[in-house]
Symmetry: C7
Subunit: 250 residues, 7 copies
Amino acid sequence: MARRYDQRTTIFSPEGRVYQVEYAMTAIRHAGATVGILAKDGIVLAAEKKTTAKLLDSSTSISEKMFKIDEHVVCAVAGITSDANILINYARLSSQRFFYQYQEPMPVEQLVSQICDTKQGYTQYGGLRPFGVSFLYAGWDRHYGFQLYQSDPSGNFAGWKATSIGGENSQVAQSVLRSNYKPDISLKEALQLALKVLTKTMDRSNINSEKLEFSYFTKQGDNVVYHIFTAAELDAFIKETDLEQETEDN
Amino acid sequence: MARRYDQRTTIFSPEGRVYQVEYAMTAIRHAGATVGILAKDGIVLAAEKKTTAKLLDSSTSISEKMFKIDEHVVCAVAGITSDANILINYARLSSQRFFYQYQEPMPVEQLVSQICDTKQGYTQYGGLRPFGVSFLYAGWDRHYGFQLYQSDPSGNFAGWKATSIGGENSQVAQSVLRSNYKPDISLKEALQLALKVLTKTMDRSNINSEKLEFSYFTKQGDNVVYHIFTAAELDAFIKETDLEQETEDN
Amino acid sequence: MARRYDQRTTIFSPEGRVYQVEYAMTAIRHAGATVGILAKDGIVLAAEKKTTAKLLDSSTSISEKMFKIDEHVVCAVAGITSDANILINYARLSSQRFFYQYQEPMPVEQLVSQICDTKQGYTQYGGLRPFGVSFLYAGWDRHYGFQLYQSDPSGNFAGWKATSIGGENSQVAQSVLRSNYKPDISLKEALQLALKVLTKTMDRSNINSEKLEFSYFTKQGDNVVYHIFTAAELDAFIKETDLEQETEDN
Amino acid sequence: MARRYDQRTTIFSPEGRVYQVEYAMTAIRHAGATVGILAKDGIVLAAEKKTTAKLLDSSTSISEKMFKIDEHVVCAVAGITSDANILINYARLSSQRFFYQYQEPMPVEQLVSQICDTKQGYTQYGGLRPFGVSFLYAGWDRHYGFQLYQSDPSGNFAGWKATSIGGENSQVAQSVLRSNYKPDISLKEALQLALKVLTKTMDRSNINSEKLEFSYFTKQGDNVVYHIFTAAELDAFIKETDLEQETEDN
Amino acid sequence: MARRYDQRTTIFSPEGRVYQVEYAMTAIRHAGATVGILAKDGIVLAAEKKTTAKLLDSSTSISEKMFKIDEHVVCAVAGITSDANILINYARLSSQRFFYQYQEPMPVEQLVSQICDTKQGYTQYGGLRPFGVSFLYAGWDRHYGFQLYQSDPSGNFAGWKATSIGGENSQVAQSVLRSNYKPDISLKEALQLALKVLTKTMDRSNINSEKLEFSYFTKQGDNVVYHIFTAAELDAFIKETDLEQETEDN
Amino acid sequence: MARRYDQRTTIFSPEGRVYQVEYAMTAIRHAGATVGILAKDGIVLAAEKKTTAKLLDSSTSISEKMFKIDEHVVCAVAGITSDANILINYARLSSQRFFYQYQEPMPVEQLVSQICDTKQGYTQYGGLRPFGVSFLYAGWDRHYGFQLYQSDPSGNFAGWKATSIGGENSQVAQSVLRSNYKPDISLKEALQLALKVLTKTMDRSNINSEKLEFSYFTKQGDNVVYHIFTAAELDAFIKETDLEQETEDN
Amino acid sequence: MARRYDQRTTIFSPEGRVYQVEYAMTAIRHAGATVGILAKDGIVLAAEKKTTAKLLDSSTSISEKMFKIDEHVVCAVAGITSDANILINYARLSSQRFFYQYQEPMPVEQLVSQICDTKQGYTQYGGLRPFGVSFLYAGWDRHYGFQLYQSDPSGNFAGWKATSIGGENSQVAQSVLRSNYKPDISLKEALQLALKVLTKTMDRSNINSEKLEFSYFTKQGDNVVYHIFTAAELDAFIKETDLEQETEDN
């Protein structure tokens, strides 16, 4: 049945489905898993890297999965990177334009909402395909403090305490998050939970700084600080967490 | 027969039907049921939540189904949320622009009518699909007081005293409403009727604050007030209603 | 044969037919019948209501089938209501713009002609479907006095003394009109004739104020007055007419 | 063979034909016949009416087939009336704009030529269908005096002394014209010839004022006058002509 | 093979052909033949008329095949007349605009080139069909004196001493021209040669003023003069030529 | 396999080919061969003429294959002439606009590059077909002196010392050029080499001024001079070369 | 399965793939291999030339595979050259416009990012095909010093220390790079590594200046210098490297 309705973006199938959006979501499943956790004192973004290219130039290609939009908001992507770039550029411009106009950082939800409206348009107008990318947005503003949002190719979005996008085992990831998240989780615990989620969904032998990216948002005094783990920091963190885990298990 | 006419938005089938609009309506049936009741002293909007994600951040994602358009008008949606967002943004803008121009709130019907004209266009022009979303609009203005409207993907709309959208058992919902509604219903009775409708159409075990959203519009002195039940308030209300029901039954 | 030519608005079939227009006319046949009669002292518009929703809010949804365009012209619709809304809005705007420019009411025929030109365009340009709606326009201007026009989805229109649109038994309706209309018919007789037409084409048990709408245009002194029957007025009129009928029959 | 080339306006078939234009001409054949004759002192336009609706309001729908474009030029149509309306409105506007600019009536041929260029465009651009209407234009200007033009859906036109459009028996009509037309024909003889043509192509029993329209252009002093026969005038004329005919035959 | 590539204007077939252009040329073959001959003291244009309508009004429809573009340039057409009209209007406008700008007649080749660029565009852009018309352009300018050009639906054109377009026997026409043309041909000889060409390609019985059009360009003193033969002149010329021919043959 | 991918300009086949471009190149193969040779003191352009029409007017249609773009640059074409005209007009305009802006001739490569960008666009955007024409550009500027460029329908171009386009035997032509070209070739030797190439690829009996076009660019003092051989010059040159050849062969 | 989804740019297949982008990548595989290596004191770009045309004019067609964008950035291409030209022109313009606005060279990554956004658009909008070209960008700016980027038809890009595009044996090339690259590689060693890569992926007999292009970026004092090897330099370098290799091997 699907066959007759899936070739055009802008039509409903008799069951009321828009197939192109569903296929775009499949594109995201091929990407590595990305986890976001909202802690009481910050936000964790952690991702599995699919590329093994050790020749990538880390000075210019800082991160494969995480992109800074503005001082107060970053995003992690799963899906087609060139599609993501377009939306990230658009988000950067929106954020700067807002600041220029109102002299204060753009509220995070407003930024997310604007990008999602653009995404939605690509699912409804003919001659376009949906953006093949899901996002986790992590940000801070004076209205709601730290916030974590997730959006998908349909343009749908919501605020989450902990969630994951991409990856073949996303069910597992969601369930690990559900059973381990607690409302007053600290940033450190959130980092450890993120590692736990990725450990459960990835091949164990890949749990190292070559296949993982970890970053977090936190506040230092009045400043919001975003930090991406260096390879050394990440390996040290993995080792330390392993030790603690063992201690805990004993 | 349907097969040959359903892939294009902008054509009639030989029986005079526009299939894409009918398929869009099917998309709405998959959504949870939403009930609206016009009481003599306010309006009730109540909905079934489909998402079970307990990790949703309730501070940013205030409501899954109900959206404030302006101080004097809100809407409840059934269908594709990202489609709904586009129309809600458009409604917010229209309402603010009206206020800016005339220094008084936009009449509710005029607002609904404007959004519906947009919806209609998406059923008549090529290269587009209809918006896959139905709305209940609840509002108050000085011309007609409290008002409740319902619109569907075709852009059709009408004012109702009590109605429901979405849900697989919408027939049941409509019939419960028809046999229980009385013209001089009070807000409290309306809340209880809404709960009754949802109890009849949903799995009984889901009748709790995790699967339901309740809100109402009322007047306090000269002010129109919109209130969404917190989880605690909702659970208390369900319990109280159950007791009353039993008392009544005995 | 039809099959190959009916999926595009903008082509002729080998027999010189434009199928999309013919299918749009089918859409109108599903609607309830609407009757218009031009009397010497006014115009009658009467319609069968298809919706049985007793919960419709009659204060905001004043009429299901009849819409005021301006003080001096109203219309009754048969077909897709959301399509009709677009054209009615357009008509209202045209009429007001005319008044603003020339300080006198827009001549009825000019208004009808303008709307029909819009309708025609939707049957000739690609990527559109025809408007699925027929209209009866009733109006008064100082050039031709009371006037009654009918238009269909092709954009064709003509002035009539008595006519009907919509309904499965439109042949019957037309024939009752033809055999009962007389040139010097009074408004009251016209109302009775309209009731007779609907009685012949509808299920007899539905002949009551829940399933019917009656309205008329007349002059009171120098003013043109448009009146829609309330439920009470309508039931009284039906009863009275029945009595007269019986008296007549005896 | 036709099948593969006839669904698109803008292509030639291998034999060099544009099928959509030919199908549009078929649409015209279904219309009633219309005859135009150029006399030495005027022009006759006569047509068969297809509609039998005795309830048509003759005060507003003055003529079914003949339309005044300006004081000095009228047209008779065969085909889709709503298509014709668009072109007639366009012609009226062109004619008025010309007068406004040059302070003299627009030359008839220039007017016809302009409309035909519009018609041609609809046969060459994608996403459109040709106008399904043929015209007879009758007019007078100071350059060429009385003139009669015929145009078809392709946008082709020519000046004629006597011609007919529409009708299933157009061959017969043309041949009656050819054998009866004489260069110095008077307006009265032209009226009689037109009646003869229609008598030969129509069902004899329909030769009355209900099924026919007659009109003529002539000069009274310096003024060009256009007159449409009333029902009474037309019936009288038919009777008188019959008598003469009989007299002649004897 | 042709089948798969001929329905779209804007594609090449695997053999590198553009079928729509070739089909447009077929359309021209159905038209009557038109001959152009460049003499030392003028240019001859002669054509076969296909229409037998003796009722055509010769005062307004001066010529069926030949059209004046400006004082110094005319054209003869073969193919779809309404397509030709569009290009001729365009040519007239271009010529007048040139004169207005430079105060001298537009060079003939520049005019032809401009029209041909328009023609070419219709063979390369989607959603259009080629113009189904070929032209002979005859003109005079101070740069090259008398000139004769031929263009076809592809937009290709070239200057010719003698050539023909249209007609089923165009091979014959070309060959008669090739064997009879001489570089210092006089206008009178050219007229006779044109008649000879048409005599060979048409049904002999049609060689009269009803089925032929003859015209020529020549200089009288400093003025370029264009003349179309009247019926009388043409018949006289045919008779005279026949006599000479016989004299010659004897 | 080709079948499914060749009907749309703007798609790649699974092997990464754009068929429409390849088909356009086939169109060029049907054209006569054209040879360009860069000599130390000029450039030779020589071509085979396909048209045998001895009635072509050589005063207006100066050359069938070679076109002057500006004083310092000419081109020879192979393919669809009307497509070529569009690009040549565009080139002329670009060149003049450049001169007007900078008061010096447009550098040849810049001109070629600009035309080729236009060509490329027609291979990538929907609703268009590629230009069915290849060019040899010969020019001189103060930056690189004499230059010879070749471009094809894809918009690809390169500078060459000697090359050929069009013709069924283009392999032969290329190989004759490769084995006979020497870096310090004189203009005269280049003319002879061009003749040799055409002699090898054409029917020997056509080696005369009716079937060939020869032209060259050279410098006389400070001036760049472009010369097209007259028929007499060309025949003399062929004869002379034949003699030399024979002398050489002996 | 692929068959049904690969003919439209703008749709996803059910597996979430965009076939047109994948086919465009196939087009690149047919091109010769191109290698880029980032050394501590410069960048090497080396490529295999596919064209054997010894008659190419090396003074105007300086390089087949490498193009200067600005003083501080060059690119090497693999794929359809005319597609590449469009993007290179666009890059040149962007770079110059940036300099004009900010009076400093455009940062390399910003330039690459801008071109890639353009590329992405051609994979998402209907009626277009993706650009069939991959790039290596080599550049220097004051922010990151020497940088090497690679982009593909999807618009994806990343910074690399060493990478290759095009060529049938791209796997081999990548693996040679991976096992031989060291972070502190000198420009000379990088040149030798590039030669090694090409030696492994090409036919050994083609390892000479006719089939190869070598260039590098380096700094001389404060200046960034880009140099393309002449044929002589290249042959000398190949010979020298061979000797060293042998010495090493012994």
